[in-house]
């Protein structure tokens, strides 16, 4: 609780110092270095008087240096203006849109942004807050790394990066209140049904379950009513990888829900853990052979009984 007033105090103090020590405006557009003199401070923040939410105004130069936008200077996106201090109001009026820059990009053509925008507009976020929810609500362009640019080996990094975007708001009731002014149940409560919750969150992205459709619909984020809840959606044809996931949960359940309940509701079996082509096909072939053998024998009995009708009931 102490961090916010302290941060605001520092911010105000620095801005005040700037306003008396610096010239009121730059003659030339300021360099990145000039921007980062303030925005490079980890504590730079601003409290939105309308929602009461605290907005982080700090830019992590290291994150920026490894982001997709590392070659850009501040002014490439932020354009002109913002020469005076403080520039809260001016910055608030700034309407940055991804498409403004990406319109002519070869690497990331406009059509893909349009497709993203289409699915984004169907998302629960946009539906609930069409005015205030933008790309930047989730994606910090100063720290944005596209998955396609990352190697498969860094999958945990991808998971962490993408989930951090969701958890920044959803991890706490306060986080969501900053955005919406409303209180929501915490992630831990809404995901209590999910076995090994934290392990799931560390290994798969929220959007694996909370989006509709396939790859190109990653921005069609859905709420709990439409999210995937069927374990077999992921855990099918999946073998040893999953075999250890729920192992120690049952003991906890035996303590809390009673013995009989825990046995009947037992879910130690991991979907797909015994799937193997040899087992599946071998089983199918054996069953088919047995059925064929039985059917053949039955047919032979029927035919022989017809040819010697009386002998059978001898």
């Amino acid at each position: 609780m102490n961090a916010i007033p302290l941060r605001l105090f520092f911010t105000s103090a620095v801005l005040f110092l700037f306003s008396i020590l610096s010239p009121v405006s730059y003659a030339d557009p300021p360099s990145d270095k000039a921007c980062l003199r303030c925005h490079g401070m980890a504590t730079l923040a601003y409290q939105d008087p309308t929602t009461g939410g605290v907005r982080n105004l700090a830019i992590d130069a290291k994150a920026m240096a490894r982001s997709e936008h590392r070659k850009l200077s501040c002014r490439d996106c932020h354009g002109t203006g913002l020469d005076d201090f403080p520039h809260f109001q001016e910055a608030k009026r700034e309407r940055l849109e991804c498409l403004k820059c990406h319109e002519k990009s070869q690497a990331f053509p406009r059509e893909r942004f349009e497709a993203i925008n289409k699915s984004f507009e169907r998302s629960i976020h946009y539906q609930a807050m069409p005015e205030t929810f933008t790309c930047f609500s989730c994606h910090d362009p100063h720290d944005f790394r596209a998955i396609s640019g990352q190697s498969g080996a860094d999958l945990p990094g991808v998971v962490a990066q993408d989930n951090a975007a969701c958890r920044r708001c959803h991890d706490s009731s306060e986080g969501i209140r900053n955005q919406t002014g409303r209180l929501f149940a915490t992630l831990a409560d809404t995901h209590a049904w999910l076995p090994e919750t934290e392990r799931h969150w560390g290994k798969v992205r929220c959007i694996e379950c909370h989006t509709r459709g396939r790859y190109k619909q990653h921005h069609f984020i859905v709420g709990k009513n439409d999210a995937v809840r069927a374990c077999e959606a992921c855990h099918s044809r999946n073998s040893l990888l999953a075999a250890k996931l729920y192992r120690h949960r049952i003991r906890h359940e035996q303590r809390t829900a009673g013995f009989i309940h825990s046995i009947v509701m037992n879910d130690a079996y991991i979907i797909g853990m015994t799937r193997h082509p040899w087992l599946d096909w071998g089983g199918a072939v054996l069953v088919a052979l047995t059925l064929a053998g039985v059917a053949g024998h039955g047919l032979a009995r029927y035919l022989s009984a017809r040819s010697t009708p009386h002998e059978h009931h001898h």
Binding site: A230, C231, E232, A233, H235, S236, R237, S239, L240, A243, K244, Y246, R247, H248, I250, R251, I263, V264, M265, N266, D267, A268, Y269, I270, I271, G272, M273, T274, R275, L279, D280, G283, L286, V287, T290, L291, V294, H297, G298, A300, R301, S304, A305, T308, E311, H312, H313, H314
Partner: protein, 208 residues
Amino acid sequence: MNTTTELYPVWIRVWHWSNALSFLALLVTGVSLHFAEPGAPLIPFETARVVHNLFGILLGCGWLAFVIGNLWSRNGIHYRPRPQGLLVRLLIQGRFYGIGIFRGQPHPFPATRDAKFNPLQQVTYLMVMYGAMPLLILSGLAFFFDGLTPDRVLGMDGLWIAGVLHYLIGLFLTLFLIGHLYLATAGETLLGEFKKMVFGSTLTEEKS
């Protein structure tokens, strides 16, 4: 002097049909659990899981009742084939199913008070009831008490071993079920054996 024996006492019949019900439920739900995939035309995983657990408990209790009943009553003797000449008796029964049955020959080993099963039944039922079933139940219990299941068995995940074993025995018992159902039609009459298991079958033997 004549002795009258009920070959299928009521408790055996109740046990048998409870097994039959459990078997079918476990087979259908087991297939649904094993092949669970989105859109698969099977019982939903969450439903199949609970039903499988419930009928697994019923089948396990039935097996326990069967073992106790066999210790307590005469029924156990039918599951103890005499080893002497067993192979020859098996071959005779096999030849009957392979040749004799098509020629309308009589069953080579009709049911008696001391041996209601033919040699093939004796061996199969022995394997099923005292071999496969305990392993099936044990591998099922490995999931019920997964905290007690060893983490590693022979360098592999203990629960995975139990899962594969459970699948293989389930498969074997499915094959048994097919054969069992079919051979039940191969008694003296087509439906005679089914009727016996519903209404019982008294056997009168002359004793000197």
